[in-house]
Symmetry: C2
């Protein structure tokens, strides 16, 4: 099956399950960016992120007997919740291996969806691959990888079909499509959908400073790795490197990457709050941050960007709100 | 023209302009409420509230020569922004009379939409009616009332058409529909739409404690008035009394009102943030607060509630976030 046929098949299986998110806009954001900014708010997706699309697509692609035995995933949070919800919908067990230092909210949400959470000590050097392998050997679960898996890419790519359809309906022929990028599943899925349905849209991954492996990989033409694996507020997209499946797709289809600072993420979260009435988590705000604050690195009169996650602790969000408050002492 | 025909005509004029908002849900909110909770997120509407629907409907109903001379409105914020945007879209002048103590964000947003803002001293006893009358006498502007005006009610009622349509598609035959209520334009418009399109849905107004004039009016059968006009975080819905047009509609069609506290509003805003990834302002969160915290006053296994405004200062929102944080000293 071709990549686009796989995405279209995933879209059919997701129909009536995944939310069809709109393209939003605000004249205030347009003014900051100096061009029209269209927002694909995947924070409104079930579980708060596009990860549900990939998880539901992957589970629905399994044959029934295999699926009934249950599924296994490793994730710091959003893929975890997506797999947990999809498993609950199918009435099958889900075991999720999560780092102990993942956000407590994400761990709690994953458990609340009925999944069994197995913590591992990421900071202490425990390997999630080994933890997973031990569980796979003991129980007959099917591993749903977070990004380097064709059905996950296809499911996440359904978001790109919607972007392409809406852009066409709005008469948009050319635009940069900025995508929040970790391992590249979402980015490559959206890029495949746009290649087929809206070839004038150029997908560009956006990453946080210090975790710009995909941007460097696209520049060098080979998979580069991040020096560190944690220590940034964008916890959702700190994958150490792109996937063996996702990188060639991105290399073939994507424009240059964009890199934003933590401060820019927080400011973008604040503006999404104020102008779009949306809650973005830091890793889900990088694309909007690039659209707003890296305008000189973008071409054309329209930019489309994803907001791809809304699972954020109140204490972190308070830092984003602080970017909107006048400095102390201002009358 | 019948009320429902007027709403349907408004819907046709709004098509392609107002956003078609979805019905959202979260299993976490269902658990708190003890029943299914469906959310109509009008905070995602242009300018952040359903007020745009009424404003656009009213402006589009004017004949072209009248509209070209410009429009006038009085509002503490959300109607102001709706009228300002609709006027900008039609390329006609808008003058908005706003209290000096309205939220600064709402005044700034109204100006940013191109409207001329005329401040008046509400706290000092200046009458907005007199300020408006002076402007009307001097300039040939058409007054767009915030709620007691058939075309505004019809435009806001288009939100009820969407609720009815989506409820039908989901197989929901009976439910309470909780609506954030100030002067009753939104409530009566939604009630008229539901009467025609989904008669099993019972609309119920929700108000803040101390500003429960509509709840008392429905109970007594005549228009009651609030003792005070300010001093509550729900600034968007502190109208002193229901309208002469809106009250009879609500009296004929609505179930009993519900009343919530400021603390319940803040907690509902926090849960909308955490579970729906949506920003609600206090006055736009009263219906969700009732759905979550006044469950014993609601019947049936499904409740539908509007979130009807998202223009909130960061400092107020920080208080909502604080409801989610563990008490200090908790490990």
């Amino acid at each position: 099956m071709s990549d686009i046929d796989r995405i279209r098949a995933a879209a059919r299986r997701l129909d009536g399950h995944a939310r069809r998110t709109p393209l939003l806009s605000s004249p205030f954001l347009d003014r900051i960016a100096g061009r029209r900014v269209l927002i694909k708010p995947e924070c409104l997706q079930h579980t708060g992120s596009f990860k549900y699309r990939g998880a539901r697509a992957a589970l629905s692609a399994l044959d029934e007997a295999t699926r009934a035995k249950g599924v296994l995933a490793y994730s710091s949070g959003n893929h975890a919740q997506g797999v947990a919800l999809a498993a609950k919908e199918f009435g099958v067990p889900a075991v999720i291996v999560m780092p102990m230092d993942a956000p407590q909210l994400k761990i709690a949400n994953t458990r609340a969806q009925g999944a069994e959470v197995v913590p591992y000590d990421r900071a202490g050097g425990e390997s999630r691959e080994e933890v997973c392998a031990a569980i796979e050997a003991e129980r007959e679960l099917t591993l749903i990888k977070p990004f380097d898996e064709p059905e996950v890419i296809a499911g996440q790519g359904t978001c790109g079909l919607e972007i392409a359809e809406d852009a066409r309906a709005m008469g948009i022929e050319r635009a940069d499509v900025l995508v929040c990028c970790g391992g590249g599943g979402f980015t490559s899925g959206v890029a495949l959908a746009c290649e087929a349905e809206a070839p004038g849209l150029t997908v560009r991954p956006v990453e946080p400073e210090g975790f710009d492996d995909v941007t460097r990989s696209l520049a060098s033409g080979k998979i580069e790795t991040n020096a560190t694996h944690s220590g940034n507020i964008c916890d959702a997209i700190l994958s150490p490197r792109a996937g063996d499946i996702t990188f060639p797709i991105m290399h073939r289809l994507c424009g240059p990457g964009l890199v934003v600072s933590e401060e820019e993420c927080l400011a973008a979260m604040g503006l999404a709050f104020q102008r779009l009435k949306l809650v973005a988590e830091p890793g889900g705000a990088v694309a909007l941050a690039a659209a707003l604050f890296r305008a000189s690195e973008i071409e054309g009169d329209t930019v489309i960007c994803t907001i791809s996650g809304g699972n954020v602790d109140a204490s972190v969000f308070a830092r984003a709100l602080a970017t909107l408050l006048p400095p102390e002492g201002t009358p």
